[in-house]
């Protein structure tokens, strides 16, 4: 979007979104800048199991690693896994969902069949089997495994959504205008799936970060890389809990939880901001609220069948049919 001022204006009404974005941005910043400011996360020159203190703000592990340095390096690893796996899952669910939903005939049948088969194969066991089969697992391989098993759910949602969009008049109109299928998919249909796709992407990122943590905890994570998951795994191996070394396992666990919550917060509020038809909604709702306080009786925004006193305000319809009102010219 080119209109910056309007974006900030829009963000103003969304507390949840602002908080969520701020936390995600802070963690991303920590992942980018943190490793430059902390010591080498793989250097064991420090005394073992130091509690938090100046010089080692989050203490050290039983092997003498600096926890803060590992946390920063681990943020890189975990975010990388999350973003790569999330992107792969979205691309796959687009192909298997949107293409299947828009086309008819063998392409639809074939893609749907693969999706349905993948859906019934349980994801976590499959990940465990594949991960344990591979002896050498880089960060990328783990991300690919996570992404390749995470897409069928969103593909099915996208398939139904694309199927409904295919029958919209504006898609028919684009066909009558002479638009070709790939362009209809990319330019006419995809933008209208953007809120849904963003939500699915963020969800896939959270799922991948949790999945990586789970695999690492089981010892099936990436070898040679540091992630929050491998930190938890080492803390477990080093009996951090029984030794009372809370500074070792709480920071990575907490960051996983906080990042998950923040992405979910963004997820819940993203639709209002992206959906063009809902963009004016908060402002209109505010003006209705104000009018109410002033004692006026306004029924329109409640979504009933009342007269559309607030023009062009969609009664929140994030995924389903378009809101329709008869509007006076």
């Amino acid at each position: 979007m080119t209109d910056r001022p309007r974006l900030t204006l829009r963000l103003a009404g969304h507390g949840k979104l602002v908080v969520g974005l701020a936390i995600v941005a802070a963690i991303a910043l920590f992942a980018i800048v943190g490793p430059m400011l902390t010591q080498n996360p793989r250097s064991s020159d420090n005394p073992a199991l130091l509690p938090p203190q100046p010089g080692h703000w989050l203490g050290t592990t039983s092997l003498g690693y600096d926890v803060l340095a590992q946390l920063a390096e681990g943020a890189r690893g975990s975010l990388l896994v999350g973003v790569v796996a999330g992107s792969l899952a979205i691309v796959l669910s687009l192909v298997f969902g949107v293409v299947a939903g828009y086309t008819r005939g063998w392409a639809d049948e074939g893609l749907s069949l693969i999706t349905n088969v993948m859906l019934v194969i349980p994801g976590l066991p499959l990940m465990i089997v594949v991960a344990s089969y591979l002896q050498v697992r880089s960060l990328w391989v783990v991300a690919l495994i996570l992404g390749a098993t995470a897409w069928p759910g969103s593909a099915i949602v996208l398939r139904f959504q694309a199927r409904s969009l295919r029958n919209r008049d504006y898609v028919s109109a684009a066909r009558v205008a002479g638009e070709r299928t790939p362009r209809i998919l990319l330019v006419e249909i995809l933008p209208n799936l953007l809120p849904l796709l963003t939500a699915q992407f963020l969800f896939a990122v959270v799922l991948a970060i949790l999945g990586e943590a789970g695999l690492s905890y089981l010892g099936l994570g990436p070898n040679g890389s540091i992630t929050w998951g491998t930190m938890l795994n080492e803390a477990q191996g080093g009996s951090a809990l029984t030794r009372g070394a809370w500074w070792w396992f709480i920071p990575p666990g907490l960051l996983i939880a906080v990042l998950g919550c923040a992405l979910s917060l963004v997820n819940f509020s993203i639709d209002e901001v992206i959906n063009p038809r809902l963009r004016q909604a908060p402002a209109a709702a505010r003006s209705v609220r104000k009018a109410r306080k002033a004692g006026l009786d306004i029924t329109a925004y409640d979504g009933g069948d009342g007269p559309a006193a607030v023009p062009a305000v969609g009664v929140s319809a994030p995924l389903g049919d378009e809101p329709r009102e008869k509007v006076q010219a």
Binding site: R168, D169, Y170, S172, A173, A174, R175, V176, A177, G178, E179, E188, P191, N192, L194, P276, R277, A312, G314, E322, R324, E325, K326, V327, Q328, A329
Partner: protein, 287 residues
């Protein structure tokens, strides 16, 4: 003289009700000829198959039987032949709240057909978009070009849809109930706009409506449909002044006079309810 002729069009839809599958014949043998500069009206209540005829002509549906001939030759259904057909035959949809993509601004909706059909290129595109907007009386064009559909009224949206249909420079226009979703007070304005554009471009127009009064006023020939069948067909004045079929008479009695355009829905409903006793179900659903 260019013509668009449909011969004996039939459309069956497969419908699944529970476990049983059956076919529904939505259109059963419709024939007429569109000529440059002339208007054919298809009239009938909701569900009589009018939109299906329109969608078959716009090549959004494939006819089960029958033929569509452009200038005497059967039309092509794919590739270049389809592109050439779309260059000649365009459509305006019934619901302007659904026929414009909510995500895109007006400029996108008009730019695409201009580019696809090679009407304008590069720097010519923007002036061409503005010219289209001016032709459908949306001025100043710069203002409307930047708007998104939800920022406009129904009448304005339908004008955009008309401009989009004009963009390729088509010779035939299918208008599927172009004003039925609009406020009564602005219907005549949009219809007059269509009539003016038709004169200017010498367009052949298929005007689909449930309103016999405007059908008579705006068209040369009327095709009356009832549940997929053509029950009456002929020159407008003959059909209106001397209806042969009971269903046409029923429709006629229910149709508002042009002078009574502003009537309340309730009145029409009551009137139609009375007519229904005549033996035909008349649904005032599109009102």
């Amino acid at each position: 003289m260019s013509t668009l002729e449909v011969r004996n069009l039939v459309k069956d839809f497969k419908v699944r009700g529970g476990l049983r599958r059956s076919t529904l014949r939505a259109v059963n043998g419709v024939s007429f000829t569109l000529e440059a500069g002339r208007t054919v009206a298809v009239v009938g209540e909701s569900g009589s198959g009018k939109s299906t005829v329109a969608r078959m002509i716009a090549q959004l549906e494939t006819p089960t039987e029958g033929q569509i001939l452009l200038d005497g030759a059967p039309i092509g259904r794919r590739g270049r032949a389809l592109a050439a057909y779309r260059h000649q035959v365009q459509m305006v949809f019934q619901d302007p709240f659904a026929s414009l993509n909510p995500y895109h601004v007006v400029e996108h909706h008009l730019t695409r057909p201009l580019k696809i059909h090679g009407v304008a290129r590069g720097k010519e595109v923007r002036p061409a978009v503005h010219a289209l907007l001016e032709r459908v009386n949306l001025t100043p064009p710069e203002l409307y070009a930047a708007k998104r559909p939800h920022e406009m009224s129904g009448g304005q949206r339908q004008r955009i849809a008309i401009a989009r249909a004009l963009a390729p420079g088509a010779r035939f226009l299918v208008a599927d109930e172009p004003v039925s979703m609009l406020d009564v007070s602005i219907r005549l304005g949009v219809l007059n706009l269509l009539a003016r554009l038709q004169r200017e471009e010498n367009l052949g127009v298929l005007y689909i409506t449930h309103d016999l009064a405007t059908a008579r006023h705006f068209s040369d020939e009327i095709v009356v449909m009832y549940r997929g069948d053509v029950v009456e067909q002929g020159p407008s004045d003959e059909v209106i002044l001397d209806p042969q079929h009971d269903y046409t008479k029923t429709l006629l009695a229910a149709a508002p006079e042009p002078s009574r355009h502003g009537r309340l829905r309730g009145e029409v409903r009551a009137e139609l309810a009375g007519q229904a006793a005549a033996g035909y179900e008349v649904y005032p659903a599109t009102w």
